[in-house]
Amino acid sequence: MSAILPPPDRVWWKQPIDRVEGTWIAIALVWCLIMFFMMPYWHVFGKQNLANEAFKTTPEAYTRKAQEVVDKYTVRTETAQNIPVVHPPAGSDVYLVARLWSWWPILELEAGKSYRIHLMSMDWLHGFSLQPENINIEVHPGYDHVLTVTPTAPGTYSVICNEYCGINHHTMASKIYVK
């Protein structure tokens, strides 16, 4: 019963390493290194990376910018609440406002074009979850987070909230249209 007794060998640190162990440690270390290199590798050669562009700002300043975009590029409204559908030009800055418990406005994008989408919360944490793509990003209050995204295929996508944000968390859903 040795693991629960003091090592019988007083100088246990001089015991030679077992062959099985030595081999496995070497293999495991190589694998850990490969996994480490995959991340920088993907930054250079992969297409799905966060640029980590973010600014500290206030809900007022952020809403103002979002409102400007809505004023300029709204193409129609949807539902009884007249939620604006915004069709911004490619390459422009688009602001998505997350608040308890809605996303505002609805975006309409074009496949193959890139957009600078900003995400920020007005209150608590929210989770931007784009389905069925399954891209998931944490949305903080006070941090304007910029993502440059390029939709690939036309269709109707959903944005659901996947950071628990209180009693109506499960109702916080919206759409992104890709033409």
């Binding site: 040795s2 693991a3 694998w31 996947n162 628990y164």
Partner: protein, 575 residues
């Protein structure tokens, strides 16, 4: 002050129990099991709600149950049990009296008070359904935070009592040479716990003051960063504790020796050195942090801890294999495993814990801790799938197996329902593995965690998940129920045996007063610096079967890892 030096010796194992330590271990274990009972009832409600075909609870109750389930399980069950393990590894394994039992009791009652207060806030006040993460600026009632703070202070006292006990053991020479490997593992857990609780204090105390209105603002990013320094490293406490228990069970059930003390201890040290920064992998898709920071903290820091787990994952079964081969089960690759005592829940639970932790919890954890891959699973059901594999199949099942050993040895009762006990690890372990796997499946298909209604009924913009995702959560519900049955059996056996089981009477049982240390005078041991195992194994490998298992593990790991990169490469380009 008179020091209690009364010990009893367990007739079957020869372990020496210090009277106050024994009482403390029992009470901590009982508090743990009560928390597990509460958490288990809540698990039933949560599972039957997430299984959308049943959809049992209303939303407010679902979120309340989920908050209380997370806390009672992850915090109270696990940490009460860990304190019992610390006292066992310190006092019992070293044959040493527990330092300051009074302080230990104070710690215990603080923990009890904290757990009650926190549950009062969540369950009775019903205004603190903020999940165990309680991300600011979502706020809970002050008693929620205060409960956690009291609990943490109590646990901290437990850690210092353990360290004090090691010092007493050394000073009173109750053992010779170095502390046993299991105690070393417990020491690792204890050191990490002290770091962890310090981070916990840094985040919970300001949040508590904020909930009282004494602090104006808590930054959400700061909160998440510090919270996970606490929340993640506390998972490393669990890993260290359950790995120590794996070694202990290998020793108890097989008389297995560590393959080499040096390797196993070095692997524990890696946990201490490299896990502190791993809170980063909770923040991979948060704004305001750079990729360099994320990569540094997840890989440099975490992969060395991953390496450590991969080493333990080999050395624990390896030690068992060597012990079995030395007993004569030396044929082929796997005779040692086939002839293992699969009907003994102490062993079967431990082995399922090891396999589930490695294959399900380990692989999924490393995958989602990769900077870019996190994008495709963050906050989906994949995440609870992963940690039910680590902290339930891994930690909880390991604790359960140890309980079967402790019922006769610590509580001196015969185990009730031995036939049920035989099946319990399979029901719980395999049910939970299925549960975790199906959750991961649903998460891969985008289903969110902590979500009351994935059908979005009545929503203006409903999202429709694919049929497979629905199938996954149905299977998840069913396997969750199997695991719950396993959990009920565990509770039945432990509570039944401890309170109603037949007392084990030992003739002329007594506590003996030990004046000074009890270890025999050190014997000069001949140095065994050459190859030590006789003629076992094959091709120069003493544990070839384990090595093959390890290679199977690595292959699944590599395949699964790259499958996910492939999947990532198909989603919208993002920069």
């Amino acid at each position: 002050m008179a020091v209690n030096r009364m010990f009893r010796t367990c007739p079957t194992t020869g372990l020496k129990f210090h009277q106050p330590a024994e009482a403390l271990m029992k009470w901590n274990a009982v508090a743990a099991v009560v928390s597990l009972l509460v958490g288990g009832i809540l698990a039933l409600g949560v599972t039957l709600t997430r299984w959308q075909a049943v959809h049992l609870l209303a939303p407010d109750w679902f979120y309340l149950f989920l908050t209380a389930h997370g806390l009672n399980m992850l915090v109270f069950w696990i940490i009460f049990f860990e304190i019992a393990v610390l006292y066992f590894a310190g006092s019992t394994l070293l044959g040493c009296r527990l330092a300051t039992p009074k302080m230990a009791w104070a710690g215990f009652w603080l923990m009890v008070a904290g757990a009650l207060l926190n549950n009062y806030a969540v369950i009775f006040r019903q205004d603190s359904s903020v999940m165990f993460t309680s991300y600011a600026p979502m706020g809970a009632h002050p008693t929620f935070y205060l409960g956690l703070i009291l609990f943490a202070v109590g646990a901290l006292i437990g850690c210092f009592v353990f360290l004090g006990t090691l010092a007493v053991g050394k000073a009173e020479k109750t053992y010779n040479g170095s502390i046993p490997l299991v105690t070393f593992g417990a020491l690792t857990a204890c050191i990490i716990a002290i770091f962890t609780i310090a981070s916990g204090a840094i985040i919970l105390i300001p949040t508590f003051l904020w909930s009282l209105g004494l602090i104006e603002h808590i930054d959400s990013l700061m909160y998440r960063t510090v919270f996970w320094a606490f929340g993640h490293s506390s998972q490393q406490i669990n890993v260290s504790a359950h790995v120590a228990i794996w070694y202990a069970i290998a020793a108890i059930a097989f008389g297995a020796k560590p393959m080499s003390e040096r390797v196993s201890r070095a692997a524990f040290l890696l946990y201490i050195f490299f896990l502190q920064l791993a809170s980063a992998h909770h923040l991979l898709v948060d704004p305001g942090l750079t990729s360099n920071w994320k990569i540094f903290n997840t890989s440099y820091a975490m992969y060395l801890a991953v390496l450590a787990s991969m080493v333990h994952g080999l050395t624990v079964p390896g030690a068992i294999e060597v012990a079995q081969r030395e007993k004569g089960f030396n044929k082929g690759l796997f005779e040692w495993l086939r002839k293992a005592p699969w009907g003994n829940p102490v062993f079967s639970g431990m082995f399922i814990s090891l396999m589930g932790f490695g294959f399900l919890g380990g692989i999924s954890g490393v995958m989602m801790g990769t900077e870019q891959l996190n994008l495709i699973i963050h906050n989906t059901l994949y995440v609870p799938g992963h940690f039910h594999a680590t902290v339930v199949v891994g930690t909880t099942l390991a604790f359960m197996s140890l309980t079967y050993f402790l019922i006769p040895v610590l509580f001196r009762r015969q185990m009730m329902f031995p036939l049920l006990a035989k099946w319990q690890p399979y029901l719980f372990g395999l049910g939970m593995s299925g549960f975790a796997l199906f959750m991961m499946g649903a998460g891969t298909l985008g289903m969110p965690r902590r979500h009351w209604d994935v059908s979005f009924a009545g929503n203006l913009f409903p999202h429709e998940f694919p049929g497979t995702a629905w199938l996954m959560i149905a299977l998840m519900g069913i396997s969750g129920l199997v695991a719950i049955v396993g959990g009920i059996i565990y509770l039945l056996i432990t509570v039944g045996s401890v309170f109603l089981g037949k007392k084990i009477e030992t003739p002329d049982f007594k506590y003996v007063k030990a004046r000074e240390g009890m270890a025999p005078a050190p014997q000069p041991v001949a140095a065994t610096l050459t190859a030590h195992h006789g003629n076992i194994g094959m091709a120069g490998f003493v544990a070839p079967g384990t090595f093959v298992l390890a290679i199977v593990f690595l292959t699944s790991f590599v395949l699964y890892y790259f499958v996910n990169w492939k999947y990532l490469s198909t989603v919208w380009p993002l920069s």
